[in-house]
Amino acid sequence: MRRVISIAIYALCAAIGLLAFLYPFLLPSTPKAPTAMAHSQDAPLTTAALVGLSVTALLVELQGQAISAKTVAMLGVLVAITSVLRFIEVVVPLPGGVSLVFAPILLCGYVFGARFGFLMGAFTLLASGLVTGGVGPWLPYQMFAAGWMGLSAGWLGGIALVRGKSSHRVRGLGRRELTLLSVFGFGWGLLFGAIMNVYFWPFATGPANQAWSAGASLGEALARYGAFYLATSLGWDVARAVGNVALILLLGAPTVRALARFRLRFHFEVHPRA
């Protein structure tokens, strides 16, 4: 029962996220342009609020299953390390949208599971946002996207774990797993950019999108978004995706080895009073 509700919560959050992603394109295609016009003013804010609420709900659900002190401490420290990696980006200029924070989120999710992955992703963006002065209406979207990144990496790890033998983990990643993870990292590199654009899109185009009021079709809106995407972020996103792949290929195996070695210490058996 619990399991079913949990899945329902994930699915609903994903649906809200998807709707937040798609509504600018769905809106103009409705025949009732006046309504669209009326709502479009509040739409970006409403969307931000809804995404915020769904991140909140997912957080409540995920931390509900008793977070032990070990998890909290480890999350805190890992988030700190990843946030520091975000500083490196400032010191060592990286090309385009390459960011060092995504690979750790993916790898940690992969090793420690979906729940840890989500929390790691969401908190990393939150903490580094707080420190770098990046708090704003975009934060829920970032947390949402990065959280799902970690969550899905955890699922990927779960699948790999079922198919392979768990003891392999200690030795690090096999070639197959590494390839799988890099493809995954590439996809998420692009997806993250797309999600963040959707947040920015309504702000950039203004509340009463003149294209909508002109009765533009879904196709036109998408074309316009495509142009926006090409102009503002495709280059960055591809660079980010390639960066993720490079990071995972080069540093993935040793990092996973270090994390996995630690996972052994993390789980233990208690035999009080033998």
Binding site: F268, V270, H271, P272, A274
Partner: protein, 569 residues
């Protein structure tokens, strides 16, 4: 208050138990010092008291534990947190919050103490530990000693009846350590508290301790009793006690003052005067001063360095000869580490120059310099990343393009470092002393002519230190020069050929150890304080200068070693 009855505990996967049949009883308001070699189970024992062992670590436990009427094994650490406050070794790894008062409130928040009461309790604890003026400070801006005081305050916020401290000063410099230990002594007078303290630096706390617990490790029984009684049964003790034992002093002196009185008594009974200044320093190994090391390996000339407007080094001149061990001592923040970093080219000095074997190092790449200089940073963990010990050595060779013709055979070096058995182990699984030696191996595999060591004995126990001194001696004999930055005065007294004192970025003294150390009140070793103006630094110095007296029954007990006279007769 605390009752352990035949407590036996083994870590998960551990073959032999860390604690075996430990029986110990501590009364209320006792101040207990727990000591013993590393690996003997001090930390484990303390963690049993609040249930961290076995609730946090897993493993197998048998026997009975009762703390303040509770059973930590059954109740777990969360319940016990109300009765036992715990302070850990590393001040950097126990803070959750940003500011002093928030950190102190953390435990209160966890126990859902109502806000008004919480505010009152925070004030109370701040006052108790003299932290009121620091209440708003971010923790990262505090010194090590202040941080540990905050940690103590945080542990006391729940008003526990027992305070447990696990080597709270092992990561601190001597002044901060003193600050922490004095705080404990004060605390004991102010409130009703049972204190258990695990500590390497016995000399500072011994005078205040009610009970000494000595864990010998290796399954041997735990000794517990009056400090003087237990000290007599320990092998490695502070210099004062060692001297007291060698001279058969009874009771064993715990402070320099007590020792002075004992020495005076001994002299009186032997009709000798001791406090008279010695006409000339006795000839010792230190007499081989700078002159022997004519061949300068490293010369630092009028070096100045500033971080922005903050001047860290000011016209520092220093030389290290071939086969010479120079100790660089000085208070925290006096620029010792900065000097080392200038020498290896990590920092560019503003003025002055550095000559390595007669060549200037200016503009040379760090990696390039490090073929000839081995630099061991403060924390060996910063170096270690490979999967095996042997690999750590090979990485350095590979970095420097020396893999084909290594200056030292890595296997041989491992032998010398006593690391052969662990050559294929994961470096991070080793003990502190072993890790330190792995790091040492990683920087000396290039066979450097000069070795720079930054605080190599931090957190080490006596045997590990002895081992380090042995290694350094070997290298010195081969002509390697060593520049040793340390706070460990007893180590300097034991090993240094020359001592330079760096204060506020300036060298204020430079010369053979005895004059430099004895003249600085802060860095004088116990023996120098006990026999001022004698030039003696170590127990060995003292004993070798005491000539046997014809017959002098001292305090009843007599053994061939007991008969000494003081020099100058």
């Amino acid at each position: 208050m605390i009752h352990l009855d035949r407590l036996t505990y083994a870590y998960p996967g551990g073959l032999t138990p860390v604690l075996q049949d430990v029986t110990l009883h501590v009364a209320e308001r006792e101040f207990v010092l727990v000591t013993g070699p590393s690996g003997a189970g001090k930390s484990t024992l303390l963690r049993c008291l609040n249930g961290l062992v076995p609730h946090f670590s897993g493993g197998t436990l048998s026997g009975r534990v009762s703390v303040a009427g509770h059973d930590p094994v059954a109740d777990g650490p969360q319940v016990l947190s109300r009765f036992v406050g715990f302070v850990f070794q590393d001040p950097e790894a126990q803070f959750v919050m940003d500011r002093v008062e928030n950190e102190i409130a953390f435990a209160l928040e966890n126990q859902a103490v109502p806000p008004d009461e919480m505010r009152a309790r925070v004030e109370e604890v701040l006052g108790l530990l003299d932290l009121t003026s620091l209440r708003d400070r971010p923790l990262e801006t505090l010194s090590g000693g202040e941080r540990q005081r905050v940690a103590i305050a945080a542990a006391l916020a729940l008003r526990p009846r027992i305070l447990v401290l696990d080597e709270p000063t092992s990561q601190l410099d001597p002044l901060s350590a003193q600050d922490v230990l004095e705080t404990l002594v004060r605390l004991r007078d102010r409130i009703e508290l049972t204190i258990l303290l695990a500590e390497h630096r016995l000399e500072r706390v011994l005078p205040h301790v009610d009970r000494l617990v000595y864990l010998q490790g290796c399954g041997q029984p735990v000794l517990s009793g009056w400090p003087r009684e237990i000290l007599g049964q320990m092998d490695l003790t502070p210099p004062l006690i060692t001297l007291g034992k060698a001279l058969g002093w009874k009771p064993l002196p715990l402070t320099v003052d007590e020792a002075r009185a004992l020495a005076r008594a001994q002299v009186a009974s032997g009709r000798r005067e001791i406090s008279r200044p010695h006409p000339e320093p006795p000839p010792s190994r230190h007499a081989a001063s700078t002159s022997t090391f004519s061949e300068a390996l490293l010369e630092v000339e009028r070096l100045s360095f500033s971080y922005g407007a903050n001047r860290v080094l000011c016209r520092v001149s220093l030389a290290v000869g071939r086969g010479e061990l120079v100790a660089l001592v000085g208070p925290n923040g006096s620029g010792k580490t900065t000097l080392l970093r200038c020498i290896v080219g990590l920092l560019n000095p503003d003025q002055g120059r550095i000559l390595l074997e007669g060549e200037s190092v200016a503009g040379r790449d760090t990696a390039d310099l490090c073929r000839r200089i081995g630099y061991l940073p403060q924390n060996p963990n910063d170096l270690l990343f490979a999967d095996t010990v042997l690999e750590e050595l090979e990485v350095t060779l590979r970095n420097l393009g020396l893999s084909d013709a290594p200056p030292v055979d890595p296997d041989e070096l491992l032998d010398r470092l006593h690391l052969r058995e662990v050559a294929t182990s994961y470096p991070r699984d080793l003990s502190v002393g072993q890790r330190q030696r792995v790091a040492l191996g990683a920087v000396t595999v290039t066979r450097p002519r000069l070795l720079l060591l930054d605080e190599p004995t931090r957190g080490m126990d006596y045997p590990a230190k002895t081992e380090l001194v042995r290694l350094l001696r070997q290298w010195q004999a081969e002509g390697t020069g060593v520049l040793l930055v340390t706070h460990d005065v007893e180590l300097v007294a034991q090993a240094a050929d020359r001592v330079a004192l760096l204060v506020g970025g300036e060298i204020v003294a430079d010369g053979p150890p005895s004059p430099v150390l004895t003249e600085s009140p802060m860095f004088a070793p116990q023996m120098a304080r006990l026999f001022p103006h004698s030039g003696w630094l170590t127990v060995g110095d003292v004993l070798s200068h005491l000539r046997p007296l014809t017959s002098l029954p001292l305090c009843g007990k007599l053994s061939p070693d007991d008969n000494f006279s003081f020099p100058g007769e």
